[in-house]
């Protein structure tokens, strides 16, 4: 009898393992348009009201506990911010002239991103319920015109891109996810391009493909490069350089960038209604030559203050 029960238990386990492998295979082969993708989207839509309610309920409590655990760093952050306010007040006086200059340069460069891409505001309703991915879900979906691969920004800068869309929800792959790569340009003197990659939830990004001889300053701004067929329009602020070093004999600089957007606490974002593959200004295109673009004219993007140097 005991032998029979043991055998029955093993049969159940084998069946469950085989079912799991079948599901994995179906998902990997079918992609987001397959039957598993459909089940996922339906489940997310069905779960949406609960998700929104739970977010409204638990986010304040989470923020409170987060504030307690970060109280030490908050005090020093407060001091640094006071100093920053003083600096910014000085800069503000000069900003009027720079705004005008910026506008003129933008016209000259004819950047498709700045001030022309239609955006859609959305609320972040949940973060990934696991420890091995860095995603956030927003309360907008395909009904609102969101599609896969659209860039997402906050007031500070780039947040990520849309990787999955259901009727009422969309999922953002955040900059800190290791699967997320962004073509960037150093906005200082060098104008060098590279690629950032997330470091599995760390609050900095790794930058590759920067020549070891390139002069890079700490605090230097990094923006999306927007090279041809890029996933992001050019000029969206990504972050600032926090560490630079060059190892002897290395083929590239060791560069770390801290995202401008606070990705762990984002609450509202703007989705740029701009698709990967939309015609953008090719870097090889001489300034003045206008590439055809299907970008609709509407309210300006949140990050349109950023520009190429």
């Amino acid at each position: 009898m005991a032998v029979y029960r043991r055998s029955q238990r093993r049969t159940v386990l084998v069946l469950l393992v085989l079912t799991s492998i079948t599901l994995v295979t179906l998902d990997l082969r079918g992609g987001s348009d397959g039957p598993i993708g459909f089940v996922r989207r339906t489940a997310r839509d069905a779960f949406a009201p609960v998700e929104s309610g739970a977010d409204a309920l638990f986010r304040p409590l989470g923020d409170f506990l987060d504030g307690i655990s970060r109280s030490g760093s908050l005090k020093s952050e407060n001091r640094a911010l006071h100093k920053r306010i003083d600096d910014l007040e000085g800069q503000l006086a000069r900003a009027g002239g720079l705004d005008r200059e910026n506008e003129v340069l933008r016209k000259l460069l004819n950047l498709p991103f700045a001030g022309e891409i239609e955006t859609l505001a959305a609320k972040v309703v949940s973060f990934a319920p696991g420890n091995f991915e860095w995603t956030a879900t927003i309360d907008r979906g395909s009904r609102d015109g969101i599609e896969e691969d659209m860039p997402v920004v906050s007031g500070e800068g780039l947040v990520g891109r849309i990787i999955e869309v259901s009727d009422t929800r969309a999922k953002i792959l955040l900059l800190t996810d290791p699967r997320m790569s962004v073509g960037i340009r150093l906005a200082g003197v060098s104008d060098e391009t590279g690629v950032t990659t997330g470091l599995a939830g760390k609050d900095v990004l790794q930058v590759d493909l920067i020549d070891p001889d390139t002069p890079v300053d700490e605090e230097e701004l990094v923006v999306t490069s927007g090279l041809q067929q890029a996933r992001f329009p050019p000029g969206i602020p990504v972050g600032t350089v926090v560490s630079v070093s060059t190892r002897r004999g290395a083929l590239q600089k060791d560069l770390r960038v801290r995202p401008l957007a606070d990705l762990e606490r984002i609450e509202f974002v703007e989705v740029l209604l701009w698709k990967n593959g939309s015609p953008v200004v090719d870097d090889a295109t001489p300034s003045g030559d206008v590439a055809e673009t299907s970008i609709p004219e509407s309210k300006p993007a949140a990050a349109d203050g950023a520009d190429r140097p």
């Binding site: 469950l16 994995v24 989470g62 091995f132 290791p178 699967r179 760390k202």
Partner: protein, 172 residues
């Protein structure tokens, strides 16, 4: 034991832990890590009900959480089912009703499930799992899960009713 009560209890436990995992705990990360309350529930059910029920409960819980993750559907289901089976098999030989069994089983199940998830994920081409962070997340999460088990094991006992070895001779 009342089989209807056990089934209703198991479904209730599944819903409560799924909600907690997807909506509550993402706001309560420590050192960037959140617990895996579902694997703790799988361990708790397997410890009370044995390998067969543990594996089935683990598989169901895994499929449901996979719907909200960006990994191939079935990856968590596979790791939870195997761990549920393992805890259920282990439990039949050594289970004692002491307070530290819950945290110990919860933490151990968390390490086993996390390791299996990462290993199978890498085999399936989920290269982002192959990072140093995976090795720091798994033990940190296990400690967190051990603490969460102090709540989940008693909750499971309440919802599923007394296990066979806890019944008085009259009830049995």
């Amino acid at each position: 034991m009342n089989p209807v009560r056990r089934r209703v209890g198991a479904v209730t436990l599944l819903i409560v832990t799924l909600l907690a995992q997807s909506s509550f705990f993402p706001h309560f990360r420590f050192f960037g890590v959140m617990p895996d309350v579902l694997i703790v529930a799988v361990a708790a059910v397997a410890a009370r009900e044995g390998a067969e029920v543990g594996a089935t409960f683990g598989f169901t819980a895994g499929v449901l959480i996979d719907l909200f993750l960006e990994v191939p559907l079935g990856l968590s289901a596979l790791s939870y089912a195997v761990v549920g089976y393992g805890v259920g098999t282990l439990h039949t030989g050594i289970m004692r009703s002491t307070w530290w069994i819950g945290p110990l089983l919860g933490g151990t199940a968390s390490i086993a499930a996390g390791s299996l998830f990462v290993l199978v994920g890498i085999i399936l081409g989920q290269d982002h799992l192959l990072s140093l962070r995976s090795f720091t997340v798994i033990p940190t999460r296990a400690i967190y899960d051990g603490v969460v088990a102090l709540l989940v094991f008693p909750l499971t006992a309440q919802l599923l009713g007394p296990a066979e070895d806890e019944l008085s001779p009259y009830e049995a």
